[in-house]
């Protein structure tokens, strides 16, 4: 790993100032994307700014139909949180399905969303649950957040502080995990807000997206069969060693139908 300067700021303002003053800086959260990239020498930041301990990034709270999760919350904490389990069990289950236990003990929700890996799990939930991404300077609605492959609406020095999820009447997440990494080959969250359904899809294209025709079909009739002929999202489907584009097209519909079937049978 190339040498770098390590900083551990004690306030959010200090973290941003350090970022602005450094040559080629990066924020460090759980490190489970950034550090492997650095040990493989695919990235060589001049300065790492550790976000651990910043109070603005900590905490889980439920208030007025919203579940709020601090950016530094680790996946294992989301999975084990009784607040999340009772307000939004689908999100606790999603977190429990990320990678493996050691990854969940380190990786954080803020790091996952800042990174926007096309196969990451949280992005499907952010879109399906109409989340708002809070940063040190503004609030970004889910629909404007994901811009492309590893590309988000964040500015270079912007810090995610927390994510506010709207609590639906019911929701379910189904993923087809890559058997080695557990990343989503395709993952779909179906969320029902009193008859208005939102569907978030990850793993299929360059970044997470909504499936508009699926949402319309399920809002009209909440039944897996309603998705039999519904149109797929108009995206460039990924094709790689793990799954062809054709296979992912198939998986998007099947994962959405499984999530719907789980909810419909309750």
């Amino acid at each position: 790993m190339h040498p770098f300067n390590y900083h551990k700021p004690s306030t959010l303002a200090e973290a941003v100032a350090l970022h602005q003053g450094a040559e080629d800086p990066a924020y460090l959260s759980g490190g489970h994307t950034l550090l492997p990239t650095m040990t493989q020498r695919l990235a060589a930041p001049s300065d790492l700014i550790d976000l651990e301990g910043l109070t603005e990034l900590i905490g889980i709270a439920v208030d007025n139909g919203t579940l709020s999760i601090g950016a530094f919350t680790r996946h294992a904490e989301v999975a084990a949180s009784t607040e999340v389990q009772s307000a939004l069990p689908a999100l606790a289950e999603l977190a429990e399905g990320i990678g493996d236990a050691q990854v969940r003990n380190r990786g954080t929700i803020g790091g996952s969303l800042a990174n926007s890996d096309p196969a990451a799990d949280y992005p499907a939930a952010v879109l399906a649950l109409n989340a708002v991404i809070h940063t040190d300077r503004r609030q970004i609605p889910a629909d404007g957040y994901f811009r492309g492959l590893f590309e988000t609406a964040l500015e270079a020095d912007e810090v995610i502080t927390r994510v506010d999820f709207a609590i639906p009447s019911r929701a379910a997440y189904e993923k087809f995990p890559n058997p080695a990494s557990r990343y989503a080959t395709v993952g779909v969250m179906v969320a029902d807000f009193n008859g208005t359904v939102r569907v978030g899809v990850t793993g299929a294209g360059p970044c997470a997206c909504r499936a508009d025709a699926f949402e319309a079909a399920l809002s009209a009739r909440f039944d897996p069969a309603a998705l039999d002929d519904a149109e797929l999202p108009a995206i460039d489907f990924n094709s790689d060693l793990h799954a062809s584009a054709e296979y992912r097209v198939h998986l998007v519909r099947v994962m959405a139908q499984r999530a719907t079937a789980r909810l419909a049978s309750l």
Partner: protein
């Protein structure tokens, strides 16, 4: 940078370059070579240690991130140094179960398997074939196969519960 941390109960204060990984600190500086490096990229779990009681892959944690914290490695789980007498009783129940169930061949993955398995048992959930296999998702064994490892974790689960009664 200057770093203070506790490793297997002993406090250390060291000067290390900022780009030192926790696993490098353990193996190279402290000579605790029981923690292995299989992949270097958080895939295999051979480098698993406990950081404040949580199983983590030490190849994907900076030494700096362990500042002020407590680390436990495979060297730190049996009878404490100085009280060992070379008998099987020196072993932690998880180590003893791996030995009894033939849960290792080359032993390369074993320290990581054992540290993660201990956390799994200590977390107190139900232990069965499925939960153990899922719980060890982040640890790869390339020779013994998983059957006897699962057997060992289930046996140690019983022994550890017995012990804590």
């Amino acid at each position: 940078m200057n770093l203070t941390l506790t490793v297997n109960g002993a406090e250390h204060s060291l000067d290390v370059p900022a780009n030192t990984l926790l696993v490098e600190l353990l193996r190279t500086r402290l000579r605790l070579t029981g923690t292995h490096v299989g992949c270097d990229t958080s895939q295999c779990g051979a480098c698993t240690v406990h950081l404040d009681g949580c199983a983590v892959k030490a190849c994907t944690v900076l030494a700096a991130q362990a500042q002020g914290r407590s680390v436990t490695t495979i060297e730190g789980i049996g009878r404490p140094n100085g009280t060992r007498n070379g008998s099987p009783d020196d072993l932690h129940p998880m180590q003893a179960a791996f030995r009894d169930c033939h849960a290792l061949q080359c032993g390369f993955c074993t320290p990581g398997m054992i540290l993660r398995a201990m956390e799994l048992v200590e977390s107190g959930g139900t232990l069965d074939n499925r939960t153990v296999r899922e719980g060890l998702e982040g640890n790869i064994c390339r020779c013994a196969g998983y059957h006897n490892i699962v057997k060992a974790v289930l046996a140690a689960g019983d022994a550890m519960q017995e012990q804590s009664r």
